[in-house]
Symmetry: C2
């Protein structure tokens, strides 16, 4: 039996909530699968094979497009709550009863919603480059995010050098390596998202980030062991929001990487896989 | 050749700066030694063998008492700067030209001073349960620290259950295990510090923590790769100070542990040793 990897795993489909969800599933089928929730306008091909194949050695990796994104059918809802409900429907449609959930950026909001809506479905949570409801600078896109997403790039992929990496030479060099890895899959790539995705996701982000009374109270209800990860210089969702998440979650560990922006896991894929693997495996006092 | 460990390493002495420094040195003599700087009123026997012997598998561990502490001669200086100068003198007296430096609490202040005073002596820094000059709640002992250090305990060791661990059952249970490990060494224990140590160390802590203009500017000068570690609920030196350290140090990674107080490395010794070992070993982008 050959085992698939990031480059070879076929895109499969499963129906739930009236949506045909596109997903890829690969890796070592031992233990609890790790379900990845993607960032703003990202598709199955916006993950880093150094990360996904890194995890796939020890566990099963499940990438999917939420409703309305790329090869999944349906509409992108304008609330994180509905995105969470769709993600839950997708996971259940695979017949899974217990998963580890990783969410990056807006995917980290969705991951929190999954844990809030169906706690028994989630064993452990990994929240990357993300923040709490009503976090700092989250009422709308940060000024830096507006500038970066609004700018023109000679090569469209170069957007991600600004979103995910700092301006330092070292970080930019890591970014160029990431872009190579991210383009490695040559066949059956996921289509880029259509023009309806960004506005709907922004509406959902704005609703999630809006200021409110006691914004962080809800985090007490997320009782799963959680690992919060970010870059120290995240300008898309400020790193202080990772600190806030950890301060208010009942059982969270925080790791912030040096000289890294929003995509710290793409800058330090090896370190990230090791840290998350340590967290997902049994350790002392857990 | 038998290799010593935490329990069997003899206390040795070396002279420098007119001080007879007490130290213990053990572990795998490969690579760069790791020099430990101790917390408030702590001695050679206030380290956790689960931590020190954990590191000793891969590297040499050097524990020492700074001037005036326990079995070291001399007076405790009333500034962190002088403590740093004494630590540098000690390290050089061992004939070492490059070390990794770990500092816990006030020992973390001293570790910063070592890196500031003789940058070429320090390869990497590990700052545990500590903070920057002029950090938050650092102008004097925190109200919680004053209460905890001022209270009476049936068993003197139980002080450390309050200093190093949270009130949760899990943390207190980990604390009782720590106290057992900490008492494992039966022979040639270090004497408790005399009554002059605490006042001098408090004077030095107050001077270090005092508010000042642009308090965090100096951190730019510490260019070594640094790992900052703390418990999310440190009430002795608030965890936000670890976040501040990382935000201002040019090349720092931050790890904050869940449901942990000042002594997070004693609560999660295995995880701590793994995280620090990963950091001290070569990794990507370092």
């Amino acid at each position: 039996m050959t085992q698939h990897n990031h480059q070879t795993a076929p895109t499969q489909f499963v129906e739930a909530n009236g949506i045909r969800f596109a997903y890829r599933r690969f890796g070592n089928p031992a233990g609890v699968p790790l379900v990845f929730n993607q960032h703003f306008t990202g598709t199955l091909d916006h993950w880093d094979p150094a990360v996904t194949d890194g995890f796939a050695e020890d566990r099963e990796v499940i990438l999917f497009n939420n409703a309305g994104v790329s090869s999944s059918s349906g509409e992108v809802p304008t609330t994180i709550e509905k995105m969470g409900a769709n993600a839950v429907a997708f996971i259940k449609a695979l017949g899974l009863t217990k998963v580890d959930v990783l969410g990056f950026s807006i995917g980290g909001f969705v991951a929190q919603e999954i844990a809030l809506q169906v706690p028994e479905l989630v064993r452990r949570l990994v929240l990357v480059g993300t923040g709490p409801r009503g976090g700092e600078g989250m009422a709308t896109l940060t000024p830096e995010a507006q500038e970066i997403f609004g700018a023109a790039y000679n090569e469209p992929d170069h957007l991600w050098l600004r979103v995910h990496f700092t301006r330092s030479e070292k970080s930019q060099a890591a970014g160029r390596e990431f872009l190579k890895r991210f383009r490695l899959r040559a066949e059956n790539r996921d289509p880029e998202v259509n023009e309806k995705v960004a506005p709907a996701q922004i509406a959902a982000i704005d609703e999630w980030g809006a200021p409110r009374e006691k914004p962080f109270e809800y985090l007490k209800s997320i009782r799963q062991p959680t690992l919060v990860v970010n870059g120290v210089k995240d300008v898309i969702i400020y790193a202080v929001n990772s600190f806030i998440l950890q301060q208010h979650l009942p059982d969270a560990e925080l790791i912030l990487y040096p000289d890294a922006n929003h995509g710290s896991q793409f800058q330090y894929p090896e370190r990230f896989v090791r840290h998350v693997s340590l967290f997902l495996s049994d350790g002392d006092a857990r």
